[in-house]
Symmetry: C2
Subunit: 278 residues, 2 copies
């Protein structure tokens, strides 16, 4: 595989279309499929979604919280889902939103970005509340292992604005500060870099010039949370194709448990997103 996650992702999206399906086996979602909420259902649900969409999507984004709620047994299911996704050449973004002081982030880097870990992913999401620099062990490990990190900038929920819109001592918003730090890390790469930003689609265009990031965008908020493919196209309108990865979860998952209905829903979203993003 190519050494650089950004380039690898771009090629993958050009080939398969720009859709990431979020695998969110919440209690609510599992019960909506008519099953009891237990670790067997967690596995059934997750593998059913993966199997239904693996020919259609470029990336899956398992939401780690919904596996973690069953402790080590839930994490074992996540390992199984990841292993099957790797076999099917579907890329994996672990939605973990990890972040701590630097010495602790060494541990998270080992968990999600190390070749030897059963939880190794193509990329992981990270939270910058303790500072973007504190994420360096994750960014360094990603770079060394051909993987990526998507750093939270502007999330898709309204409650996030109070902190993300706050102004740093340099009078830029926290969101812009984080985007700028990610851009700076990508500047060392010739083409697209491996460091991305999470930027929700449920909002207006940011003031930051997104075309300068030189890394990929993970874009939640599409579907159930209200954003449309047109919203995504408007926010990222001059960004290079293959750098924008919209993620759809509930709007696809609720089509289950029938595999064909899940597959059809994923195809519709992929086609709608392909149309506006290329």
């Amino acid at each position: 595989m190519d050494e650089n996650f950004g380039v690898r992702l771009q090629e993958h999206l050009r080939e398969r279309g720009p859709l990431c399906v979020g695998i969110d086996p919440s209690k609510e979602m599992i019960e909506s499929w008519g099953r009891g909420d237990n670790v067997e259902s967690l596995e059934y649900f997750s593998l059913a979604v993966l199997e239904a969409v693996l020919d259609t999507v470029a990336v899956i984004k398992p939401q780690v919280a919904f596996f973690e709620r069953f402790g080590s047994e839930g994490v074992r299911v996540l390992e199984r889902v990841m292993s099957d996704a790797r076999d099917a050449h579907v890329m994996i973004v672990a939605d973990a939103k990890r972040g701590d002081v630097g010495s602790t982030n060494v541990g998270y880097a080992q968990a999600w970005l190390d070749d030897a870990s059963p939880l190794r992913s193509d990329a992981v999401t990270a939270s910058p509340y303790l500072g973007v620099e504190s994420l360096a062990p994750m960014l360094d490990k990603a770079q060394a292992s051909g993987r990526g990190v998507f750093v939270l900038t502007a999330t898709s929920n309204a409650e996030g604005r109070m902190i993300q819109d706050a102004r740093t001592r340099d009078n830029e918003t926290v969101e812009d500060f984080v985007l700028g730090a990610v851009r700076a890390r990508n500047a060392n790469f010739d083409g697209l870099g491996p460091f991305g930003a999470v930027l929700g689609a449920t909002r207006d265009r940011p003031s930051f010039d997104l075309t300068t990031l030189r890394g990929p965008f993970l874009v939640p908020g599409v579907g159930f949370q209200g954003a449309t493919p047109e919203n995504v196209a408007r926010i990222f309108d001059r960004c290079t194709p293959g750098t924008v990865l919209p993620s759809v979860s509930r709007a696809i998952l609720q089509a289950g448990p029938e595999r064909s209905a899940l597959r059809d829903a994923a195809r519709r979203w992929r086609d709608d997103l392909s149309e506006v993003l290329t």
Copy 2:
């Protein structure tokens, strides 16, 4: 047990003294004990520390990152450590720094704060980057189950200042905004509430009046990161005894692997902290 974590913690600290030992089985720390870095050593290290300090400390704070790096097998070790701590009546703060949108935080609440979870803890640390209100499912679950949540406010590392010192639209710092939101949640309780703040000791006194939080403080940065018991006493000088929980990790762990040396180190820290905090 008492329904309210804040009251429970306060009684526990008055009885046992104000020391939390961080269980941080990093690769570096395990190797400093002369062992290879693998899941067997993870278990050996963590149980050795617990056994050595369980008569001395009030609380253990396992750093989840260092268990997660071994995937489900590492999480299983964490479950074992927690189970043994419960048997020994040592309280557990899971240092997980979790945080996501509200619907996802339902999953983290189930993982760390639900009676049925193998990872259930007396309290968990949470990150507010997606908004304090988005943490509501964790706060609600904690309140309902007699557990607590420590929300990150001002962390012990310098890189965190850029975001934590940023100013919200109400012209307060992010740190003060988060402290105010935690205080507001505690206002519904007669005495001490179950919602706390993580506030590093490697800093000056904050402008926020800490005596008004009406919840506990988890205080990292003591020992290896540079803060002394006197620093802790100065920052929290008018706070009620039993509401301040300093956490020491490397300065104690590096005394191992001999149990007696670990125990002696923990006792010294407990005594030094007791002296200045009561």
